[in-house]
Amino acid sequence: MIKIGWIIILTAALSLGWVPTGIASDNTSEIILMAHDSFSVSKTVVAEFENRHHVRLRFLKAGDTGAMLNQAILSKNNPMADVLFGVDNTFLSRALAADMFIPYPSSHLGDVPDELKLDPTYRLLPVDFGDVCLNYDKKWFAAKGLAPPASLEDLIAPAYEGLTVVENPATSSPGLAFLLATVGHFGPDGYLDFWKKLRDANVQVTASWKKAYWGSFSAASKGDRPIVVSYASSPAAEVHFAEKAMEESPSAAVVQNGTAFRQIEFVGILRGTKRADMARKLVDFMLERTFQEDIPLQMFVFPANKTAVLPAVFKRHARIAEHPVFVSPQDIAAYREEWIEAWTETVLR
Amino acid sequence: MGLLDVVDIKRDFNGVFALDSVNLSLEAGNLLCLLGPSGCGKTTLLRIIAGLEKTDTGIVKFDGRDLSRISPHRRAFGMMFQDFSLFPHKNVYDNVAFALQLKKESPKRVRRRVMQMLHLVGLEGFEMRDVNRLSGGECQRVALARSLASEPRLLMLDEPLGSLDRALRERLLVDLYRIIKQVGVTTLYVTHDHAEAFTVADVIAVMNNGRVAQVDKPETLYRQPANEYVARFLGFRNLVEGVVAESNGINSVLGRLYPQKIQVSPGTRVTVLIRPEGARIIDAGQAVDPKETTILGTVKERLFKGGHVNLTVQTEPGFLLNFDFSLDLLPPSTGQNIRLVLGPSAMVLIPGTE
């Protein structure tokens, strides 16, 4: 019995040698895209790029946005990839300050709305955007005969006490986005007052989106909070990933003026890449309709290219915020820590 | 009614009787030996008396009281395990003092008693020693001191010499006996070695397959084993089967034998035990008593045993017998013919095989 066991173990260990040992950085017939964990793209789109340019497109996933950016910065003198996708507007200034991208004013930028182009030096180009906003449980509000929230101010009204769950901006990206929404909406001098009132209204704070959504949001779990901070595309995701086909989404997004915060994701070519030419081709491809139209159902965010056609489920169930709250990347870089600490003092202590 | 009474103890494990209707009685101050091969149930019986195991039926009485409801730690019995089970995390002093410290005796009294015990077993000066570094004999003494320290009402020893080597065993046995008798504690001693049992016991209970085969004083046991099993267990090898004849005597392969007391009716099958020291060597022409049986044979094996010589003799019908002879009698060597005479005192009648 023992002998057979050793044979099994050795075989398994040896067969791991079959596993691709790593990503070679000099091979000119491949190009490496480094992205965060939420990145996704369909096989056909990848195949199209590969066939068009006769190159292998390989991926390097490196944790969440913050982890990925850290890794990229730490390795910037000897980059692990050719192209980096996933820096968002909350990290934009930091990423640019690290000086690890080479500028590329792609011709496809013409199809991208100006308000998304936050980097005038064209080192980081916008690829997609998502609106972080409140989602609410339609059935719950209908049953209670209560109007769903239509503004941030609604959350602190007496009727809405104890109904909201938000994420900790210190540990959650949508949490930070929502905090920034309140900073943008109420101003750096007024947002703390809002949060004080929200805290008195028994708001629940979780560490991550997963915990809030799968643990507390009544439309998706056995939790008891009918209002959650999520994305404007979440209702579409509910429909798309439902068990059985549904006509209506169980949740809806609050996209009225001044309630949502736009998260824009950028792509950049890493300085030090030995395949700058192919990297440029990849960036172009990511701004083209083929790739852009694949984004919604893969990552559940909106394409930056305004000529891209949205899929049906998005057209029916996802909304784009008309006037999302805006906070400049420079301000975010300068005051992020201070805002988070002030928030922590106000809400958690 | 002795100090300790074991009444009709039965214990079975999944249909196999470990103990089957065991009855025993032990008088105060005596040493009772439970003698038997491994698996005969002696250790189980000991553990039942200690309270470490349950019995299916029957009771154990001590000083007239039924012990069934009394847990082992309240019985005030001392027990010495086969591998001593000394506490490895305590030194010699703390091992011996354990029972006394539990009783919350004053440190002065504890000290006095511990030193007394160490002196008794001959281990003065060993108090601070690490028990993991003691020799086998030293461990045994510490174990003894430990079990005697709290003046137990009954001392139980489970093969106390079992894990020691041969040379040590004999020396320690004598010491053990002396100490026990000096203290005067009633003792139950379990062993598989009949020589050991003969040395120390006041009474021996021979056990076989969960039953008590015979209970007797050592000398009685030796002189009159109750059945073939006991005889064989005690080391007797000269066992001859025979049938009781009409007139006196037993008809057997060796001819007619005349053991001392035949109280069994003729025609019964019996076994005759011939003592190893009960033979006489004679020359061809010597006169023989009518009640004596003559045996002719050849010496098959001659073993020198120091004080005597042990001969294995092959008798005419192809039967092997074993005898001890003093050196002075000049016993013959291997291959030589030998003529032996067996008197009635050399033979014991054993009723059955059991």
Binding site: G66, M80, G215, L348 | P88
Partner: protein, 557 residues
């Protein structure tokens, strides 16, 4: 009688040391120096902030006391169960033992979901209580409280105590407690005066591991405890990942490492001083069937506790994995095999299982290859080298995954160590965590081998290797299995570090689960539950298989 020369001992220690030097110290030093030099004050500014702002000291305090309380609680709840395993034979023992280890592999996110479905405001317990007692609001409100953190820690670590102390306890000669009883000790006194002191090396080993696990706890604190609670590990993560404040993260890492090193130094000395030679008793002697009322009661009570406390959350997970809108079905499991989104990152379940198992086996082999020599070395006579290396070998366990992950990026970027994008980094990272577990599992057993046994073998002409084979190895058999099981388990369930170093070509089961939970949708949730159930079943099967690999010769220990 010394039968291994000090030169050979030194060689034994060399192997794990070299490994640690390359894959732990080198990356660690690199990331710390780079992080600290990012700051003009070389980190001292951060250090000053750390000391002067009370919040960081409070974090350190909280980290410590929740780990202490968790450890004590785990010991209290797991020791009775350990007793049952050590002393009784009963049907289904191996199965139950595997079962109690499964929690260890579950990602925190999944455990959170399980506890939620049981103890959340809409969960089973509250629903039941509200119905029976006609209450209007859920009585059990432990979500995001310290109580839930403690419960989760016990849930995860029960098996550590069970296996490490259990293996050791089952070799304890019952004659010792019987002697104590015959000398007048009630069962309670016998336990406290004899059994407990003799068990202390194993208890110390187990509690050390549990303590470090809880001290560096991340997922449990973050997800189950919520934002009100922060440990150093969480703080390091926050500073590095969200605030991109590497100097502060580095300073915190250093504090964490130094603090745990000091603690472990004390601990390992304690453990060494309490070990003693034990005559190994075979299982035939130490274990028996439950006999009589009290025995059966103890057995039943503990087995029920294990099944309920550990089983209910896992059971509720499995229930959720087969609960679809149309009733009970294996629909989610079927969905696992379909690439519904046509994503290039689709993880076929077979692949996930294969890679998880592959990494786990690799980590197991490497951890054992390093752990056995390390343990043999540490079991030798006490000297300065050993008292230093003993806590040193434990360090990787307490070092933040974030710090190490970044360290790998910096350090392993040039040939011959060009491994930062290689999948081999996954089992290597796992080994760093598993190796201390292996060492801790083996040490009490190694130190308890009576020198007399070895001397006897040597006297009969056996050379050191043969002595090792015939004396040490059988006694170690059980401890080796325990170490192997832990290495395997840690790798299967490892999640934090793996997020950093895993590559999409080699997905593992926890990563697949995490992916499913990244998007809304009932189908995603169901598939996450299904994959979690597969993870549980694969783990349990793995454990049971390993139990058969007992290296015995003759008498079973």
């Amino acid at each position: 009688m010394k039968h291994i020369s000090s030169k050979s001992y030194a060689l034994l220690a060399a192997l794990p040391l070299v490994f640690l030097a390359i894959f732990y110290f080198y990356p660690l030093i690199k990331i710390l120096t780079v992080s600290l030099t990012l700051d003009e004050t070389l980190g001292f500014g951060s250090l000053k902030r750390l000391i002067t702002r009370g919040i960081y000291l409070r974090t350190l305090w909280f980290t410590t006391w929740q780990a202490v309380v968790s450890t004590i609680l785990t010991l209290l709840l797991a020791l009775p169960g350990t007793y049952v395993f050590a002393r009784y034979q009963f049907w289904g023992k191996a199965l139950l033992r595997s079962f109690t280890t499964v929690p260890f592999v579950l990602p925190t996110v999944v455990v959170a979901a399980a506890f939620h479905s049981l103890l959340g405001p809409g969960g089973l317990v509250n629903a039941g209580l509200m119905k029976w007692f006609h209450l209007t609001s859920p009585p059990v409100a432990i979500d995001q409280t310290i109580a839930l953190i403690l419960i989760a820690h016990v849930f995860y670590n029960y098996t550590v105590v069970l296996r490490i102390v259990g293996g050791y306890w089952s070799r304890l000669d019952p004659g010792l407690t019987e002697s104590a009883k015959m000398l007048g000790a009630s069962p309670g006194k016998a336990f406290f005066k004899v059994t407990l002191p003799l068990l202390s090396p194993a208890i110390l080993a187990a509690s050390l591991l549990v303590f470090i696990f809880c001290f560096s706890s991340f997922g449990v604190i973050l997800i189950l405890g919520g934002p009100r609670f922060a440990t150093i590990e969480v703080e390091i993560y926050r500073q590095a990942i969200h605030l991109l404040n590497l100097p502060m993260a580095a300073v915190l890492s250093l504090v964490q490492i130094l603090f745990t090193f000091a603690l472990m130094w004390v601990y390992t000395r304690l453990q060494r001083s309490r070990s003693m030679a034990l005559k190994p008793a075979s299982r035939a002697v130490t274990q028996k069937k439950a006999d009589g009322g009290i025995d059966r009661l103890i057995l039943a009570a503990n087995v029920s506790f294990m099944i309920l406390f550990l089983g209910l959350p896992m059971f509720s997970l499995m229930v959720q994995s087969v609960t679809t809108e149309t009733g009970v079905s294996l629909g989610f499991y079927k969905n696992l095999f379909e690439n519904a989104t046509e994503s290039v990152f689709f993880v076929p379940p077979a692949d996930a299982v294969f890679y998880s198992l592959g990494f786990a086996l690799a980590a197991l082999l490497i951890a054992l290859t390093l752990g056995v020599p390390a343990a043999v070395f540490l079991a030798g006579p006490a000297n300065r080298a050993r008292s230093l290396l003993d806590p040193l070998f434990m360090l990787p366990l307490s070092t933040s995954a974030v710090t190490l992950g970044f360290g790998f990026i910096l350090a392993l970027d040039k040939p011959p160590l060009n491994l930062r994008t290689s999948p081999i980094l996954v089992p290597l990272a796992h080994t760093l965590v598993a190796f201390p577990f292996v060492v801790r599992s083996l040490l009490p057993a190694l130190r308890s081998i009576p020198p007399k046994l070895k001397d006897a073998a040597a006297m009969m002409g056996a050379g050191p290797l043969k002595v090792w084979q015939t004396v040490d190895l059988p006694i170690l058999g059980r401890a080796l299995v325990v170490g192997a099981v832990f290495a395997f388990t840690i790798s299967l369930g490892e999640f934090g570090a793996t997020l950093f170093v895993a590559r999409p070509q080699t997905p593992t089961m926890p990563l697949a689960i995490y992916r499913f939970l990244g998007q809304p949708g009932a189908a995603n949730y169901g598939q996450a539950m299904a994959m979690s159930s597969i993870l549980m079943l694969v783990s349990a099967a793995g454990f049971m298989l390993m139990e058969k690999f007992r290296v015995t010769q003759g008498e079973e220990f």
